[in-house]
């Protein structure tokens, strides 16, 4: 081998080693290297609006060293499932029961009974196996601005919006079915039409509802908030999670009214669980015990206008929030059925019914 050949070979080898070396050097700070100490990685979709920072600070004050990893609900659930053979995160919270059912079915989360299990309604979580536990509840509501639509003129049933042409193009529908809230809306629409013999467990009437809902609606505009569209008169109605109402009323000067159907509105319950296979099981449990405690949940509720499931924490929740939530009946949704079929429902809707 002459000198030139050596130069040539070493150059190309350098290329190879770049790839290999980066993986080796990266190995040292792998979160999942079996190290039982170190920072606790907390996965959540509920870190926005300053929640993540607040939790990190409070946890630190309580002696817990955590790192929040925030992603959108669907993305986060997918990531946890994809990583299940070599988990990177240690705890997950904030995802709704539908996503947690998926994580449980994929054995991506493991059972742990928190210290505060007695303070929550276990049926709001995983009553059967106690894999995940409820933290916060939210209603998914059809909202309007009472400045433009008086409560008397608003329909009493959501279905009135697409029953007939009166409201056609006048309510917003979110077509981004990869996201959590639009999926919950879909689940709420289909829930009353569960039918074992129907397509994907839903009767034809149910699918007609979906078709009419999307067919008469005005698709959401990417990058434009529902309330911005409400105040400029583009639409009069739209879906929003209840925790977002207060801040918008302040910002846009609206006075929000919500349609309260007889059968109730879909409620989602955000849950918490230990990620299966974490090397920091003990710390994870410690975090869950701390975060779900009535004290921390109470402070969290007061700060972020949340409605805690923990009955003892509810006292600290904002009165307006409590009033709104308690005025809205809870729709009866079969979450097991929903979890089993939501992927197919989304697919069918996406393929057949979206405008």
């Amino acid at each position: 081998m002459n000198k030139r050949t050596i130069t040539a070979s070493s150059f190309a080898l350098a290329l190879l080693s770049t790839v290999v070396l980066t993986s080796c050097s990266a190995e040292t700070d792998t979160a999942a290297s079996g190290d039982a100490t170190g920072t606790l990685i907390v996965y959540t979709n509920s870190n926005s609006d300053g929640r993540g920072e607040w939790i990190t600070e409070q946890a630190s004050a309580a002696g817990l060293d955590i790192e929040i990893v925030g992603l959108g609900g669907a993305d986060l659930a997918n990531r946890i499932v994809a990583e299940k053979n070599n988990p990177v995160g240690d705890v997950v919270f904030g995802l709704n029961n539908m996503f947690f059912e998926t994580l449980k079915a994929e054995e991506a989360v493991s059972a742990y009974t928190p210290a505060w299990s007695g303070e929550v309604d276990s049926t709001a979580g995983d009553a059967e196996d106690g894999v995940f536990w409820p933290l916060v509840e939210q209603a998914i509501v059809m909202a309007y601005d009472t400045n433009t639509v008086s409560a008397a003129d608003a329909p009493t049933e959501i279905a009135d919006l697409w029953d007939g042409d009166q409201y056609t193009g006048n309510y917003e529908v979110n077509t981004a079915l990869g996201q959590a809230t639009p999926q919950l809306v879909l689940a709420g629409l289909l829930a009353p039409y569960a039918d074992e013999d129907g397509d994907l467990g839903i009767s034809d009437d149910g699918w007609d509802q979906v078709q009419a809902y999307f067919g008469h609606g005005s698709p959401a505009v990417e990058g434009t908030d529902l309330y911005a569209r409400l105040i400029r008169g583009e639409v009069d109605f739209g879906v929003i999670p209840s925790s977002g109402i207060t801040s918008r009323d302040t910002e846009y000067g609206t006075v929000t009214g919500v349609i309260s159907p007889e059968d109730g509105v879909p409620y989602v319950t955000e849950q918490i669980a230990v990620i299966n296979g974490t090397p920091r099981q003990e710390q994870a449990e410690e975090f869950i015990d701390w975060f779900g405690s009535s004290d921390v949940q109470g402070q969290f509720a007061a700060k972020f206008a949340a409605y805690p499931v923990n009955t003892e924490a509810r006292a600290q929740a904002l009165p307006a929030v409590v009033e709104l939530i308690e005025s809205l009946p809870k729709q009866d949704i079969d979450w097991a059925l929903t979890r089993e079929h939501i992927g197919e429902w989304v697919e069918k809707t996406e393929l057949e019914y979206l405008p």
Binding site: V20, A32, D49, L71, K84, A176, E251
Partner: protein
Amino acid sequence: MLRSPLVLIVALVTVWFIATFLIFPNATLLIGTFFPDGQLSFRAFEKLVSSERAMNSLWHSFLLAGTLAVTVNVVGIFIVLVTDYFAIRGARILWLGYATTLIYGGIVLAAGYNFIYGRYGFVTNAVGNWFPDIDRDWFSGYFAVVVVMTLATTTNHMLFLGSSLAKIDYQTIEAARNMGAGTLRILWRIVLPALRPMIFAVTVLTFLTGLGALTAPIVLGGTDFQTVAPMILTFSKSSSSQDLAALLAIILGLATIVLLAMMNRAEKSGVYFSVAKVATPLQKQKIPNRVTNGVVHVLAYALFVVYATPVLLIVLFSFLDSTAILRGMITWDALTLDNYATVFGTPSVLRPFIVSVVYSALASAIVVLGMLFVARVLQKYRNPVTGLLEYLLHIPWILPTILIALALVMTFDRPQALVGGQVLTGTTSLLLLAYIIVKIPFTLRLLKAAFASVPESLEDAARILGAGSMFTLRKVLFPLVIPTAAAITALNFNSLLDDYDAAVFLYHPLYQPLGIAIKASTEGENNLDSMSITFVYTVLLMIIMGLAMYLVYGRSGAATRRARRRASRN
């Protein structure tokens, strides 16, 4: 060819890389989706065919890609001509205006146009004041998407067609003029044919961009013109629908590959090499006809205004509170620094920037360096094996980034012999790998074109003077393709900087990249300033990307100007 150690090593590394990172993970994922119980399932196919919406979206994507292949060429060639070929007053200013698409894109670009021409946009409002009967939704659907995407995707023309134009031998133009050919005939018969290989290359890229169009149709397409990319995105996030996502993506990918093969063929039959020994540098052409000259000037500046306004608006918007933007009412007291305060007030706001800059720089440098060798070997040794390798390297074009990322996580979550028994999931290297992977096809295409434009005799000359293949590559060939390589590096860097799709599954919790940070800071039910904050990040990104482009073009531009001055002194 296997006698050269360089070729041997490049071949081995390439084969290993393709097998390990392109075929193995994706094949595992695809087999899982299409053979759910070990049997081929036609479910996805049947579902798609029976869905009117899917078929419509697919048709729209192809329609858009086809339209763009024409319109982007028209506009792209026009702007290259007015900045580099014709003598137009203020050409450098024009260039800067047209170059704005280099430093922003995606949702912000679409939103920028929407804020100007959309239902509540300025122009629509202004016209609406005079003509109240105007259809306020005039700027939506197919037309709007085509207009916006045409303007947004002329980037490749500016960079690559521009540099090809500079290489045309001026004497051929003089000769044609001498024989009495008019401006148009010279353009049509001499200039454009000489640019043909590069036009083909950028047309493939344009077609691909059109097929993958995501944000512009979402923002501007309305209900009449939705494309298939949003559908792919939704389906790839649901495990039960991933087969649909994969199938749709494969349809788009195969279309691209077919086009690629056609272009390859056409390229072979009609490559025009400069035959002159002493190429005279191109001189700008005056348009002799006064009326035509005036019209071209007006068009060029009109286009400049159209290009530049959204950028200026985005910068302006980053200083406005969200309500003002959404209401479309801009007053002096709506101006605020709050958005910047919010962004910079976030703890450790700089960290994601650093993480992303490091990742993007590393990935773009590695992919360009690696592809320099690969493109060279593929271009030099043409046989069925290298042909196959070349097509395999285009796999990342066939699959959406999300699926590639998912496949990587799921494949490397256990020790794999192919990577020396390492577990890559959860390490910082996996995201880097994904970035390298997704940038391979683009880098390879353009570098191959760059190598093809180097006369073969240069290599022979180096060889007969005793230079080994590595020495020749380093001293003779690389300097000639370095301008293209630098441009590709900058483009790769810019496009990776705010990536979300790959990062979402792959990022290491302690190293959050920018795309995730932006998304996090703009999400949230109570975050009403999300659009303003996006604008702030966009402005910051523009600064970084602008800097990257300056490093490549500002300096090399100065170098060419120096060279031109030197040549003109002679």
